[in-house]
């Protein structure tokens, strides 16, 4: 499978149905790349004509802005908006809640107006509209899963149901953590913490959060943010549980459950 870039399509006088905004993590981080590939598989399964920006994609500016560097944020935002507007991009799907928040909520003030979806919202719509077909689930496959709310999806944008609805559609049984939905506990990566050492404390945020996840007894911790995934996986390693328990992005779980043949288009 070859994923076209918007520039390639543009050269042919074409425009994609949607732009997949990959984000830095899914571009460069090995673990998050799995999410990107899962999502690409899902798009293909649903016969969606999507494209990526490739090397024309840049950081949205989220970590710079949260660290306090508004200059750099505005530079990145203006640059990205220029690129997006030049190609007439209207619909964007992203697998990163931080990119999602910036593109959806913070770019309009700088002249970037797009219809922005987080991949969990988008996938849930595909399932509901029967545009993707899921494998029938056997009894023994029924597994326990706990879902970790990303702050920028949940509290930030009120997206609590889409990821859970997907897990339910996959016939997984959700066991909630002590803190979930609007009370969900951060993984520790937000606010540009991902790019520096944590401040001095009694424990690390991701270790505390992973303990909550492990307490549910689930074998799968589902998340919908590349940074949460990393933090939770590090938490599992710290607890020595990375063999027994897996951290998976919702997109990966969906891709694993895709039927081998796509739905016949109606």
């Amino acid at each position: 499978m070859q994923i076209p870039t918007v520039a390639e399509l543009h050269a042919k006088g074409e425009k994609p149905e949607l732009l997949y905004w990959v984000g830095c993590a899914a571009s460069f981080d090995q673990r998050a790349q799995r999410t990107a590939r899962a999502l690409a598989t899902i798009f293909t399964h649903a016969a969606i004509r999507f494209a990526i920006l490739g090397q024309e994609e840049s950081c949205t500016g989220d970590p710079a802005r949260r660290a306090g560097n508004e200059f750099l944020f505005q530079m990145m935002a203006l640059k990205n908006i220029q690129t997006l507007n030049q190609y007439g991009i209207q619909t964007i799907v992203t697998s990163c809640p931080h990119c999602f928040n910036t593109l959806k909520n913070e770019y309009p003030a700088l002249g970037g107006h797009y219809e922005v979806w987080h991949h969990t919202q988008f996938i849930y719509n595909l399932i509901r509209e029967k545009r993707i077909r899921l494998k029938p689930v056997t009894k023994e496959a029924l597994q326990l899963v706990t879902y970790h709310d990303s702050c920028y999806l949940g509290r930030g944008n009120g997206i609590y149901d889409a990821p859970r609805d997907i897990l339910q559609a996959l016939q997984m049984k959700i066991v909630e953590m002590a803190h979930h939905r609007s009370r969900g506990m951060c993984c520790g990566a937000g606010g540009a913490q991902m790019w520096k050492e944590e401040e001095k404390g009694t424990t690390r945020v991701n270790i505390a959060r992973t303990q909550e996840a492990l307490a549910t007894g689930s074998h799968t911790i589902a998340a919908a943010c590349p940074f949460c995934n990393t933090m939770l996986y590090d938490g599992l390693k710290h607890a020595g549980k990375e063999e027994e328990v897996q951290v998976k992005d919702i997109a990966e779980l969906v891709a694993e459950h895709l039927a081998s043949d796509p739905p016949t288009s109606g």
Binding site: G54, G61, A64, Q74, L110, R183, G190, G201
Partner: protein, 438 residues
């Protein structure tokens, strides 16, 4: 009677004048903040006032304190109807002025107030136990020592005393009614104090009148004192919760406001034409981000005065839970403390004279650096305060003006600038993940 009236009116005028004076100072302090126009969405704003301030919606995320708080809140609002009668009686030299006009429902009303008074006493006692005996965790943080702890206890004890005085006044009044003494006209029996009044009958009328008058005067003087205590206390939230929920941001919690005043510079730096809506000439900001209270929007200063230090924000803060120095409640308390310090400076000199200090003397970089911007503090606040908004403004100052940035963050900035990604991967590797696709 006339002397009593004169004393009462003098007391009332003094209390109200002093309170107005204090409130005008608070208002002046709040307006020291940066100007910010808040317009539009009136309906949504009023809805928030109704749901959050009047309706206490967020309080019910936690049922036990919510119900106890509801008793005190209803007690405060409803018993104030009785205060109206007490004040009019004081001015006019009457006794239970409303009684002849609403004779049938009068005892029902007063009985309802009495039930509330008992609930207030129960709730405040429970709150005292939670704070001082059970040591509920969110009341035990380092910022909750000295004055903040004392303030909380003062308020609770004071409310209990006021309610006890109200009940004493009613009980002795009814005991005097049984004796057909003086002007103590029959009111019908009050639910809570009637049985007490029956016991009080043994006491001589002179002592009873002393008790009734004493309780009456102490009660109203206490109320007026309490009114004047508010501007110095965290309890000011009973008034400011209303404007604060009105003016609170309606944007998604994760959305950071644009620093519009640097935009023209950034645009020209990038060789972009100034577009019309953004080309309004703006003077460069005094500070990039916030160094002191003057650099924060007046909304955040209003929020600092609206905070009642309940600590729901701090209890939910992942940094605080994992032992970091950051406490969102302390951010609000520090903002108010600094603002009050600036206010005293102005009182003393007629205008603000540089004291060589700023909000950064109250809030350390370590605290600011610990925030993950998870918005749990904003989510939890029952009156829509955003400690996060202040944290982010102070971070802007640290990075853009004080040039105090952790090395790793500087590396991240450089990488974003050079590679378009916070990590040092070249842009042409951005699409590599796709090559491994089946």
């Amino acid at each position: 009677m006339l002397i009593a009236q004169i004393v009462f009116i003098a007391l009332l005028v003094f209390a109200i004048t002093r309170f107005s004076h204090q409130v005008s100072k608070v208002r002046r302090n709040i307006l020291l903040g940066r100007d910010e126009q808040i317009c539009g969405n009136r309906w949504q704003r009023w809805k928030n006032v109704l749901l959050l301030a009047f309706g206490q919606k967020k309080m019910f995320r936690n049922w036990i304190p919510a119900i106890l708080h509801l008793f005190v809140y209803l007690g405060f609002i409803i018993i104030n109807l009785e205060i109206l009668e007490i004040i009019l009686d004081g001015i006019l030299g009457t006794h239970r002025l409303f009684l002849p006009y609403i004779k049938t429902i009068y005892p029902v009303l007063i009985s309802a107030f009495e039930v509330l008074a008992v609930l207030v006493i129960l709730a405040c006692s429970t709150f005292l136990i939670r704070r001082n005996v059970l040591h509920v965790r969110r009341f035990e943080n380092p910022e909750m020592t000295h004055w903040p702890r004392q303030d909380a206890n003062n308020i609770l004890i004071f409310e209990i005393i006021l309610m006890l005085l109200f009940l004493t006044m009613n009980a002795s009044d009814q005991a005097l009614q049984f004796k057909h003494y003086g002007h103590y006209q029959p009111t019908g029996s009050f639910l809570i104090t009637h049985p007490i009044a029956l016991q009080l009958q043994q006491i001589s009328p002179g002592v009873l009148v002393g008790l009734e008058r004493g309780a009456w005067w102490l009660h109203i003087a206490g109320v007026l004192f309490f009114l004047n205590y508010l501007p110095y206390s965290k309890h000011f939230h009973i008034l400011l919760a209303f404007p604060n929920t009105y003016y609170a941001s309606l944007e998604p919690k994760s959305q950071m406001p644009l620093m519009a005043d640097i935009l023209p510079e950034v645009r020209s730096m990038m060789g972009l034409e100034a577009n019309d809506s953004q080309s309004v000439p703006t003077s460069p900001p005094v500070h990039f981000g916030a160094r002191d209270v003057f650099d924060l929007s007046w909304r955040h200063l209003l929020a600092a005065y609206s905070c009642t230090e309940c600590g729901r924000c701090t209890a939910a803060c992942p940094a605080n839970q994992t032992g970091k120095k950051l406490s969102p409640r302390k951010i609000m308390m520090d903002t108010r403390d600094r603002l009050e310090e600036v206010g005293r400076n102005i009182d003393q000199h007629g205008q603000f004279v540089d004291d060589g200090k700023s909000l950064m003397n109250y809030i350390s970089e370590e605290e600011l650096r610990a925030c993950t911007t998870c918005q749990a503090c904003v989510e939890e606040c029952p009156v829509s305060i955003s400690p996060l908004a202040i944290i982010l403004e102070l971070r802007r100052y640290l990075v853009m003006e004080a040039s105090s940035t952790p090395q790793e963050w500087n590396a991240m900035f450089t990488s974003i600038e050079n590679n378009g990604a916070p990590w040092t991967f070249p842009p042409d590797e951005r699409g590599q993940w796709a090559s491994k696709l089946a």
